[in-house]
Amino acid sequence: MVIDLDRCNGCGACAVACAVENNVPPAHQQANTRNAVSLMNVSAVSNHEQFPAGDTAYIPMFCQQCENETPCMTVCPQNAVDVDPVTGIVGQVPQRCLGCRYCMTACPYHARTFNWRDPEWTDGMKAQLNPAVAPRMRGVVEKCNFCHGRLHAAREKAAAAGRNEIDPADYVPACVASCPTNAITFGDLNDEESDVCRLSKSDGAFRFLARLGTEPKVYYHTTKPWVRALAERSLTRTRQEEFHG
């Protein structure tokens, strides 16, 4: 996946589409950014220049699908993290999760969230849950898995048509499909002919915390140097930064 941060305008459509697709419950009254259950979190970041010179970028942050020594997988005592050797997608098996949250500690991207409470929807909304995705229970960790329900549907469609390979057009995660600015490109990074491969190697493409060597499979792209500089920093804002905006 490649996300063009110059096109992203922070509309939040990806975060909402993700919640609807993956049956992520709405916030409870006291929820905040720290205890949220969000598989896709879009953050506004600033270059800290004073008005009117300031600039803002919006960074969709979710599981970066680490290729090398996947940190969450290596620490999970329950074997609840599963990397698909064919697609490279890092999956989470909530039924195996015991809620120790080692994976949340290990994840350098803060991309995992913990279900502190039972999921809650209004009665009518319960009937509107995606039938392809089981709701997760209290006490387990969850994260983005590139909409595995859509992947299964694409595989079933391919199987029904007698094909071994899915049609790339049949499998697009909800965030990609919903983006009104087409800022997110999805595909096979190993396919040299694909747009996603080309974009991942273009000028301005980068990965967050690349120095850790986890080889994330999510790339970002921007022409703004100050945004690229953020890629090597911790994602947690310091108190100093909170103060200075």
């Binding site: 096109r7 975060a15 953050s43 600033s46 995606n130």
Partner: protein
């Protein structure tokens, strides 16, 4: 040495303790307690609180979103006939639109007609049958105390015609919101010698789009179209904005004008146009009061205005020259969703720029728009702010959403003492929570609805939103209520259901043989080639949109600009300037799906109601840090708010977020409670963009 083994003669307390401790340790070392803990955890995890999923066949339906007037085409994936996810067809949906199917099940959804005992959060609601609610209204109408009025949040729909018909019989006022996308074209109509002409913005062919405060790239018009205009680079966006709004941040150029000086900046642009020979002779001939305009703008040079507006004179001069030179330039002003409209004089100055650069009637500018067949042209509707104060005895508030905030103070000002307010909203919101009678209309996707032109669209269009959800049997369409009232009052006209009204419009479109129909798969068919009205209706129910041919403009009308001067002096204000702002469709004038908490509450992408943004320097001068609680005071009252800091905020201002209340699936806050909107000073002309305010640590 002999050693004797002595058996204990009795069990001591120490022995019992040792035995108990050993047993406990032994059990702890066994898997038993841990298995019990694990099982009980799993048992509680899987209580009925974790819902089971719906069963049934999967299907896909097509409809149109009615959350705003853009009417985006929607594909709904359904399980057992119930939609579980929505996706845009010919462009992405906005975040609220992606969860529009949840609104029928919003925690604040109302499904029965109710009578309220008062207008505050302590009021009680009593569910009543529809007939009883209608009887209360007709009794009040029969008294003929004050005017009868309808506030229509989405004018131009088939149901809007029914409101007009009812009001014509009842001699009432048809009102539209003060804040809307078509602010500039409405002002042009009023300045024109032919006010019945309709206008729209031909933005898709524009090369230079100058916006005074309109949130063009943050939900304005059809959001996906506006974004594609920005991204394909055909048009250059220039945003004149006193704060670093989302549109200002995305525009190609941003002119950070000082708060409250937008009118002076527009007049200084007019000064350059009029006094530096940038207006063509043909345009001059079309302006009835050119000499007045020359006289009014003469002292307002860019140099005189610059110290006040904060925009350097060469920048203003350059902008005026580019506007005059570009053959696809357009200028528009627009309300902020939370901050409300500009005052009439600012709107006039902006509209006048269009006249003087020749943008009216030109490709890429402001073009004449035909009307939808079956929906007649009307003179410009009166805005809520223009209605006489204390004149309305019975006010009907339409249940659709304009997307813009409507301060209750502005409505209340128009009401007579003991006036009756009837709301057709399907949910409790900041307006319907103050009503006396609530007759909930069907929620989005519960009933068919005709969707006319998108906001500011250059050509007349029509589409139909088909129901995706079963209609709640206790809800009533506005036409049902109007029909009951007409029968009680002896008013003759008939009021068809919204689906029948949409069908009649489709018949009129077919009969006109004008324009073409575009289906969601992209195929285009001329109406003249469609065999019957039924065939056209079938296309509409499949998500098609009819678009008219461009209006053959002919001779342009003359315009009377009616400009008035202003002092080139900075507005004086005690305290900080509080600038209200919000995001269209989320300002509590309606409700949004609870999952929008991902945007408003569980991330810092947007802010909930009760948040203020301060520049860090301003915050520190008041001893405030990010996350602190603070009290904001204006002459309307005091509220405790949460402070966020952002270096992008103009120093010495408070950006007051007019956002949604936290509205998760639990008990939401009562929407009639005070919000930041209630702290804004609503002026006599219905504006509340800037309010003097004070802030201190709570």
């Amino acid at each position: 040495m002999n050693r004797k083994t002595v058996m204990p003669s009795k069990l001591t307390r120490r022995d019992i303790l040792k035995y108990s401790g050993g047993t406990l340790l032994g059990v702890m070392l066994s898997p038993l307690p841990w298995k019990l803990l694990d099982d009980s955890a799993i048992w509680t995890q899987n209580w009925s609180l974790t819902p089971k999923l719906s069963h049934g066949p999967l299907s896909s339906l097509v409809s149109r979103c009615t959350l705003c007037q853009a009417g985006c085409a929607v594909q709904a994936d359904c399980v057992g006939g119930t939609p579980y996810r929505l996706a845009g067809i010919d462009g992405g949906l906005c975040a609220p639109g992606l969860a529009g199917h949840h609104l029928a099940h919003h925690p604040l959804r109302i499904v029965h007609p109710h009578l309220f005992s008062g207008r505050d959060d302590m009021s009680t609601m009593t569910a009543v049958p529809l007939n009883e609610a209608a009887a209360v209204i007709s009794k009040r109408l029969a008294l003929r105390i004050g005017s009868t009025a309808v506030l229509d949040h989405q004018p131009g729909r088939p149901v809007s015609e029914q409101y007009r018909t009812f009001l014509a019989a009842a001699d009432g006022l048809y009102l539209v919101p003060s804040s809307r996308e078509e602010e500039t074209v409405a002002r042009l109509r009023a300045m024109s010698s032919v006010p019945s002409h309709n206008y729209g913005f031909d933005l898709e062919n524009s090369t230079l789009i100058v916006s005074f405060g309109a949130p063009l790239l943050d939900g304005w018009g059809v959001p996906s179209v506006m974004q594609s205009l920005r991204l394909n680079g055909a048009a250059r966006f220039v945003q004149v904005d006193c704060r670093r709004s989302r549109t200002a941040a995305q525009a190609h150029e941003w002119l950070p004008v000082r708060p409250g000086t937008e009118r002076l900046l527009a007049l200084s642009v007019l000064n350059v146009l009029l006094h530096e020979g940038l207006v063509t002779a043909a345009v001059k001939r079309n302006v009835a009061d050119l000499n007045d305009a020359l006289r009014t703008t003469r002292p307002l040079t860019p140099e005189a205005a610059a110290p006040v507006t904060g925009i350097a004179a060469p920048v203003v001069r350059d902008l005026a020259v580019r506007l005059a030179a570009s053959d696809g330039a357009v200028v528009l002003s627009g309300a902020d969703a939370g901050g409300g409209p500009f005052d009439a004089e600012t709107q006039k100055a902006v509209a006048a720029i269009n006249v003087l650069i020749g943008a009216v009637g030109r490709r890429g500018g402001i073009v004449r728009r035909t009307t939808v067949p079956g929906i007649p042209a009307h003179a410009p509707a009166m805005t809520l702010a223009e209605a006489p104060d204390r004149s309305i005895g019975v006010l009907f508030v339409d249940g659709a959403d304009s997307g813009y905030a409507v301060p209750w103070e502005l409505i209340e000002r128009k009401l007579q003492k003991d006036a009756l307010v009837v709301s057709f909203s399907p949910v409790l919101n900041t307006v319907s929570a103050h009503a006396d009678v609530l007759i909930p209309a069907p929620a989005p996707y519960e009933a068919a609805a005709g969707i006319p032109n998108g906001p500011g669209a250059p050509a007349a269009s029509f589409a139909v939103s088909m129901p995706l959800l079963p209609k709640n049997e206790h809800t009533a369409e506005p036409s049902d209520v109007l029909r009951l009232l007409a029968a009680e009052l002896g008013i003759a006209p008939e009021f068809p259901s919204s689906e029948d009204a949409a069908k009649r419009t489709a018949e009129a479109v077919h009969a006109s043989k004008r324009g073409s129909v575009r289906t969601p798969d992209g195929s285009v068919t001329a109406v003249a080639e469609i065999g019957s009205a039924e065939e056209l209706w079938t296309l509409f129910t499949g998500g098609a949109r009819w678009t008219d041919e461009p209006e053959r403009t002919g001779a342009m009308p003359r315009f009377t600009l009616g400009l008035t001067g202003t002092d080139a002096a900075a507005p004086t204000m005690q305290g900080l300037a509080m600038i209200a702002n919000g995001w269209r469709g989320t300002v509590s004038a309606s409700q949004i799906s609870p999952v929008l908490s991902k945007v408003f509450q569980e991330s810092e992408l947007r802010h909930n109601a009760g948040t203020v943004l301060l520049n860090p320097l301003t915050a520190s001068s008041f001893g405030l840090n990010a996350g602190d609680a603070a009290t904001v005071s204006t002459d309307r009252g005091t509220m405790t708010v949460r402070v966020r800091t952002d270096a992008g905020v103009r120093p010495d201002t408070i950006e007051a977020v007019i956002g949604p209340l936290p509205n998760g699936a639990e008990t939401p806050r009562h929407p009639s409670g005070r919000t930041m909107l209630d702290l804004c000073a609503v002026a006599a002309d219905g504006t509340w963009r800037i309010t003097p305010a004070f802030i201190q640590k709570a």
